[in-house]
Chain length 430, copies 2
């Protein structure tokens, strides 16, 4: 019976056949231990010479790293293994013998591994991170579907950008100029007026020459937008959302988190509600911690975010930033003109900002004033203004960066490991 | 209690409050019927002057199309309505009175509607199509998650294209040249060797000056790739996949299909297995139907696909096309050198090709030969060759176009209605 490694425990005592690759091997003259992987999981195959005979044993012993094979064997319970089983091999059919696989169990440099990313993703650690990424993606879609959000796909190619074109990729769209979207938010606002609660989940592009462990040139963003939802309710949805993601991964990716050596106790506590700190208080906290490079009105850098997050064992909302350091479409606090109804969500353990969100301006006259202040005279943004002209409603939204979330939950040090084929400065291959 | 229209039937007899827009209205001196929408659904609100008093009645009667409001009322069963309920209005709070909403119940031209796409999506028909799109997206993710596929996101920005750059959008990636991906397939093959069964679901770009009702410049594709899966097994997965999508929409989008006037009897029959016709037989069928513009070796055009599909009441696979009209990576039929192990899936009712798929070449020498024949000397594709060098395995994959699938299932005439903000020739706005 043909099956896959993740299903082996359903077949204890039975004979099965799996397609697999050899990830590693130990052997003596009488017994060979094959570390097998098939993408669904990892399992050990045990080949005993006296059981299988000389020919099959020789085939097993001759297998090189990353050779592909069909393995037939009997599934045995084995408490030491992650899946609780091992395979007592009865037959081996070599599909393709790999020669000189470049990624050996020894240490390799980052650039070498990045040049071989198409192979590197086969290794146990990269596999675990990509499985966690998959589970996070699933948890995102599950949360929104179960809460009646419609997935809406905003366009990637747009005719202009409300926030300047310096960090945008440009292309010719036949006779016109077009840019790769950095955010679908404005479109999502239009969609929220049509479908109520919506979210997007797609690639985003930032042509920035920055080289940090938190930045990718091409990354995936989740941008929900909700009609008739005010700032405080949006924060509650955000904390439910993040809790759902983290608890889903803990429940469904036990083996992968173990492979990565992730300290799960740091994740278990990530349950709503999350603490909220006003920007004003955050500035005070930083001063008390001895930071003298920041004053009211300045935006936070990574060290500031990390310092604030250190005071909490959950993600923390920093709320109500000064209007001048936030986007033009954020709604002013009705009690205080100088701050806006917004929040950034800072992950624990130094992983930085994972969500930015706000209530949006719904007043036409105020939005027209913002257009003037920001020089948004381009006809390309006329439609966005019209959302305030025809049945404007209170509405809020936020954006979650997928790769930073994967990095945080999997404990990866650099976002380049959190996406299958990272795009970085000077990195367009493979 | 604040709720949404789709949940009203859970509150029969209770007083609730909803945020909504007025989509239409009828009124006399004593009673007003408000057609309300909130994105989650449509419901009728009934305002009786003698019940609510003069002031509230005047507010309700004065509402213009697309004005936004909070409505309080009692939920009553009503068999005539799609949701089984209507709202006996007790209070109206006008949020924003819309003036001269441009899309009136009268007929508008296509270009006018496309220029107002940000508002057009509020209309009942567009809303229904986008809800069906959302359900299809959900069914896709659900099918793959339940069948142990990992979602893998291939890069959009790539350094080169194996199939020529004429229909690719170009951008400068810092000092390098980059192109917007037309398919993530090559990357998905690498991912399948790491994760076993994978699928992508993302935007795809085709810089083609074609203007047909089946083509978009920017559209969404689903590309599964499966290690250790041969051609026939792939076809079986494809028919299960399409059946799941269609049956999910029938079950979960009853109201939307009714709104669109979709003939559901044509969809109910879409259950696996699907008929298979070889390319050879398809040519014969076309000759018998009187087509004299096609010979063995030619690719099919839309009229040919429609003519073949007419003979079946389910989607039909056309298999084993001539090698010369298909992609370089398709595996030759082991029994016949001149055709490849591939299939296109043609939707019924003239909706054309929705899936293209094949088993891939797994032999290194043959792939090297194809590289030579196609002049793939660019270093940018070295990594793809290496997948055949290290543990090559039989593998297959396919691509489903989301918008054509939405068009078919919802019965839309033109793909421009199947995506929130279509990108077409000369259409980059809104
Ligand atoms: Mg920030
Ligand atoms: Mg075709």
């Amino acid at each position: 019976m043909k099956t896959t490694i993740n299903k082996l425990s359903e077949h204890v005592g039975k004979t099965v056949k799996i397609g697999a690759w050899l990830s590693n091997k130990r052997s003596s003259g009488k017994i060979a231990f094959l570390q097998l992987r098939d993408g669904s999981g990892f399992v050990q195959g045990v080949v005993v010479k006296s059981e299988v005979g000389d020919e099959i044993f020789a085939k097993a012993k001759g297998l090189t790293q990353e050779s592909s094979l069909y393995v037939t064997g009997t599934v045995k319970e084995d408490e030491r293994s992650a899946l609780g089983v091992e395979l007592e091999v009865t037959d081996v059919e070599v599909l393709h013998q790999a020669v000189d696989y470049p990624i050996t169990p020894k240490e390799h440099g980052t650039e070498f591994l990045m040049d071989h990313r198409h192979l590197w993703i086969r290794s146990k650690r990269q596999h675990a991170i990509l499985k966690i990424r998959n589970e996070i993606i699933h948890a995102v879609n599950e949360f929104f579907y179960n809460n009646d959000f419609a997935k809406v796909d905003p366009p990637i190619l747009t005719g202009s950008s409300a926030e300047g074109t310096t960090s945008l990729f440009h292309t010719k769209y036949f006779e016109e100029d077009a840019y790769l979207s950095q955010s679908g938010q404005l479109y999502m606002e239009a969609a929220a007026m049509a479908l109520g609660k919506v979210y997007s989940f797609g690639p985003t592009f930032r042509a920035e020459k920055s080289k940090t462990r938190r930045h990718l040139i091409e990354f995936w963003m989740i941008e929900p937008e909700m009609a008739f939802v005010e700032h405080e309710e949006s924060l509650e949805i955000q904390e439910q959302f993040i809790s759902h993601i983290v608890q889903s991964v803990i429940k469904r990716c036990e083996n992968e988190l173990k492979t990565l050596g992730r300290d799960i106790s740091k994740l278990e506590n990530v349950k709503a509600p999350f603490p909220r700190v006003s920007y004003d208080d955050a500035i005070k906290m930083l001063k008390e911690k001895g930071f003298d490079d920041i004053d009211w009105g300045d935006d936070f850098g990574a060290p500031h975010e990390t310092a604030i997050a250190e005071s909490f064992d959950k993600p923390v909302f920093i709320t109500n930033y000064p209007k001048d350091i936030k986007a033009f479409y954020m709604k002013p606090d009705p009690n205080r003109e100088d701050v806006v109804l917004c929040a950034d969500l800072i992950a624990p353990e130094g992983y930085g900002e994972i969500i930015g969100g706000s209530q949006r301006i719904d007043d036409l006259a105020l939005m027209e004033q913002r257009y003037e202040e920001h020089g948004l005279t381009d006809d390309a943004y006329k439609w966005y203004l019209e959302l305030r002209k025809y049945g404007s409603v209170p509405h809020s939204g936020f954006g979650l960066g997928l790769e930073r979330t994967v990095a945080w939950i999997s404990g990866a040090e650099h976002v380049r490991e959190t996406i299958p084929f990272p795009r970085l400065l000077n990195r367009l291959y493979p």
